[in-house]
Amino acid sequence: MSVDTGPAATTRREPATASPPRRRRRNLTGLLFVLPFLLAYALFLGWPLVGGLISSLTDASLASGEARFVGLDNYAEAVGDPAVWQALWVTVKFTLLSTPLLVAVGLVMALLTNHLSPGRWLWRLAFFAPYVLPSTVVTMIFVWILQPDFGLADGLLAGLGIDADIGWLTEPNTAMVSVVLTTVWWTVGFNFLLYLAGLQAIPHHLYEAAELDGATWWDKLWRITLPMLRRTTGLVVVLQLLASLKIFDQFYLMTGGGPEHATRPVIQYMYQTGFTNFRIGYASAISYILFALILVVAVAQVRLFRPREEAS
């Protein structure tokens, strides 16, 4: 994969060639190098990972000290909890709506700017700048733009003669669309960069050969460019899927999960269960279910990409 071109590919593993006494000393030194990181890892990843698993088997509460062991009750409750399913459905809906847009827009941006060398830094600035902003800033701007009547969105529509009486953030479906559009504006720059990298990695002789055969611009796009970008697209889709499962900021900051929980993603339900309703045990169970889902996607990603990466 082009963006990941570390020098690794070319390195041969060389066996360590050291004399025995030196090696023993090195043993200790090597461990010292990795120890600080592993310590932090154990404390702030290992501990909560195990702690969460344990508390998911109890009725631990934010308020009271003691927790009782309840076995798999929390998991059983979660499977039967319509709110969990609704939150998952919100996530799925968000994914289905946002992924095609994020792929298509990112690709179009990359195709447009790939050969437009004058002002390339400007395009990059325009398309990628939103990505470096905090979610709070992005949502503040879009909540303002989507204000009824005097917001920019309604204002522009009014300029076109459309009296848009749209509850951008107050009606279930439009609220979802608003969050999706905000997300596209915010994060498409990342996909744009990936596609740009993918485009620049396509060997130029392919195009030259095609030109000799009299291929048109359109032919080249369909026969060379898009097929050569297939892996990038796969990557973008998987990353998007992973990001969607973990989504929280935009929904929480723009709609608060409303109306009627129609835009409440899993992380927010987990947050509310644990911290608003004090049910740490149950919230931990939900987080483990989510974790399992994310693992499935992540493992699928590895399965999808590993063999071909090694082959190339």
């Binding site: 963006v3 990941d4 071109t5 570390g6 020098p7 390195t11 060389e14 090696r23 090195r26 043993n27 030194t29 090597g30 190098f33 990795v34 600080p36 990181f37 592993l38 932090a40 890892y41 404390l43 990843l45 501990w47 702690g51 508390s55 941006m109 447009l112 437009l116 060398s117 830094w121 400007l122 990059r124 600035l125 325009a126 700048a129 470096v132 902003l133 905090p134 979610s135 709070t136 800033v137 503040m140 701007i141 005097f150 204002g155 009014a158 300029g159 990342f190 740009l196 396509i202 060997p203 030259e208 990001a243 900051l253 987990m270 947050y271 911290f275 740490i280 994310i294 992540a298 493992v299």
Partner: protein
């Protein structure tokens, strides 16, 4: 293989196009005669770029309007009088400076700790041998699969136990565990030719000196990428700082703006002024270090998301 080549290879492709970077596939048609298609392409691109800049421009334009003009119908693009009143109110009142300080502090400490811990660990995994190395590296890799978002509930519980809720350490420490960075750095270190350090080892140099005097200087680009990416993600991180800081004294800028009622209500010039001010540090950073930021994100964002 020369050092220079190593260096350039570490550059991911998207950064091509700036002065000293050789574009990987120079289009031979660059000096061709004018084509109408190119103009159309340019216009479409420019329109799309304008559309993308519009929200930022609108935020800025709103922020320099007198409050009464922000809600004018039909909307008015430019203020009748340019005013910085909203900025003055935001900067004078509330916690703005404190939050800015907190953001700078936590993002910097996280970045420094990540760079130190991860380069050390990556070096250890790449260049040294010790019992259990394979297993420990495998555990590190497994960590990449654990999204920090799913750990917020047990992590908060842990912070309560460690008495770290509403402290800087509570914000910082859970953010320093970034196994993906170890992976990226190790991959890079693996590619640095061993002859160099073998020579140094012959001279009797210690592992620490090799790490410090050979590996780190050779890895500057990738370390810069890791550092910049870490800084941006930490600065922008919302969920964890939001969870662990309930006291506004400890909130970072993104969290404070969202959690604390500014009292501005529907006064949008002020809301947009605070948005502009909160976004500005990163936009400036981005414009100044565009190439490094892009490289950082493309290089590390993939596994670091």
């Amino acid at each position: 293989m020369t050092l220079h080549e190593t260096d350039r290879r570490a550059d991911p492709r998207p950064s091509g196009g700036r002065g000293d970077d050789t574009p990987p596939s120079p289009p031979p048609s660059r000096r061709r005669r004018f084509r109408p298609g190119a103009l159309l392409l340019f216009v479409i691109t420019a329109l799309l770029a304008a559309l993308w800049l519009l929200p930022l421009a609108w935020a800025f334009l709103t922020s320099v309007k007198p409050e009464a003009e922000t809600t004018a119908i039909p909307l008015r693009w430019f203020p009748t009088e340019f005013t910085l009143d909203a900025y003055r109110t935001v900067l004078d009142g509330g916690h703005f400076w404190l939050w800015l300080f907190n953001s700078l502090l936590t993002a910097t400490v996280v970045t420094v700790l990540v760079v130190v811990l991860c380069t050390m660990a990556a070096y250890g995994f790449s260049r040294t041998d010790f019992p259990g190395k394979r297993a420990l590296f495998a555990i590190t890799l497994v960590g990449i699969m654990v999204p920090p978002q799913v750990l917020i509930v047990p992590l908060f519980d842990q912070m309560v136990l460690l008495n770290m809720v509403d402290t800087y350490w509570g914000i910082i420490l859970p953010q320093i565990v970034t196994p993906a960075m170890v992976f990226i750095l190790k991959k890079f270190f693996d590619g640095i030719p061993r002859e160099l350090e073998e020579a140094a080892l012959m001279d009797g140099a210690r592992r620490w000196r090799i790490y410090w005097q050979i590996i780190l200087p050779l890895s500057r680009p990738v370390i810069a990428a890791v550092a910049i990416f870490t800084f941006i993600t930490t600065w922008n991180n919302f969920l964890w700082p939001f969870i662990v800081s309930t006291d506004p004294q400890f909130m970072t800028l993104p969290v404070g703006l969202a959690a604390i009622e500014s009292g501005y209500g529907l006064r949008f010039a002020r809301v947009m002024a605070s948005a502009v001010l909160a976004g500005l540090p990163l936009l400036v950073l981005f414009v100044l270090f565009q190439r490094q930021v892009v490289r950082g994100v493309a290089h590390t964002g993939l596994s670091g998301q």
